[in-house]
């Protein structure tokens, strides 16, 4: 297990050595956070999260499509004309007459 620990540590070490932390990262991020919280947004700070806009747009488009399809279907529906004489009413009338 000790060997594996060393090997895993070495493996991650090789990955990490390729991309060390940016030298000024700590200073820049702390400065950005503190400045941002004091009402002075810093370039490169938090980006506005616009995912909710995309979700709202998707919902609106879906509702519009469904409403459009339903309205077209309702507009094209043909109401059958009332029959002039149903079979059984005609038969009753002929029986009474006859």
């Amino acid at each position: 297990m000790a060997d594996l620990r060393t090997e895993i540590k070495d493996g991650f070490d090789k990955e990490q050595l390729a991309f060390p932390p940016p030298p000024a990262m700590r200073h820049e991020i702390v400065q950005a956070v503190v400045s941002g919280r004091q009402g002075n947004p810093v370039d490169g700070g938090r980006q506005p999260n616009l995912q909710w806009v995309a979700v709202a747009a998707a919902i609106l488009i879906t509702v519009a499509i469904v409403a459009g399809l339903m309205s077209v279907r309702l507009a094209q529906r043909q109401v059958p004309a009332p029959p002039a004489c149903l079979w059984f009413t005609c038969r009753i009338q002929s029986t009474r007459a006859g």
């Binding site: 297990m1 594996l4 620990r5 090997e7 895993i8 540590k9 070495d10 493996g11 991650f12 070490d13 090789k14 990955e15 990490q16 050595l17 390729a18 991309f19 932390p21 940016p22 990262m25 700590r26 991020i29 702390v30 400065q31 950005a32 956070v33 503190v34 941002g36 919280r37 004091q38 490169g44 700070g45 938090r46």
Partner: protein, 177 residues
């Protein structure tokens, strides 16, 4: 400078940071940024995304400083925020094509000394982010299982299981001691 790695966080430091004291925030979170970047790099495997994730995590940490009022340790608390931010970034890329450019660059940057270490290196590269995280926290950052559990949202026993389960994927015959 306070030892915030394993000790409880001084409440005065939390209050000062919340009041806008730059030095206090640096003592609380600034000292954790390098570890946070390394965790993010291990999960995201992209240095630019890792830096962005750490910065976003720092903003979230500031807004959640109140969580440290109960005296919990700052390091696992911040690394939890970083890990969650990285998961959010990965979820946000669900529609993108899976690519590992940084790993290719990493591979070109170092030489593999032996076949065994080459196998392990390839095994580490193939592991999922959820398997790499416990190994990285425990074996690379030397976090105790209690802190690994905090970051993963598990008990220490659960964290131990996760560490060994991931290690077995690298060495199938590994026995739990």
């Amino acid at each position: 400078m306070h030892d915030l790695a394993v000790n409880q966080t001084p409440l005065g430091l939390v209050s000062a940071a919340r009041a806008g004291d730059r030095e206090a925030f640096d003592d609380l979170v600034g000292v954790q940024l390098e570890a946070g970047y390394r965790v993010a790099l291990a999960i995201l495997r992209d240095p630019d995304e890792a830096r962005d994730a750490v910065q976003e995590a720092a903003f979230k940490a500031w807004s959640r400083l109140g969580q440290l009022r109960d005296g919990r340790a700052a390091r696992p608390w911040f690394l939890t925020i970083v890990a969650n931010q990285c998961r959010s970034v990965r979820r946000g890329k669900w529609w993108s094509v899976v690519r590992l450019p940084s790993l290719d660059r990493m591979s070109a940057d170092f030489e593999i000394s032996s076949a065994e270490s080459a196998d392990l290196q390839r095994g580490l590269a193939r592991l999922s982010a959820e398997d790499r995280l416990p190994l990285f926290l425990h074996f690379y950052l030397d976090l105790p299982l209690e802190e690994v559990g905090v970051v993963l949202g598990l008990s220490p026993a659960g964290a131990k299981t996760r560490v060994y389960r991931a290690a077995r994927k690298l060495r199938p015959g590994l026995e739990l001691d």
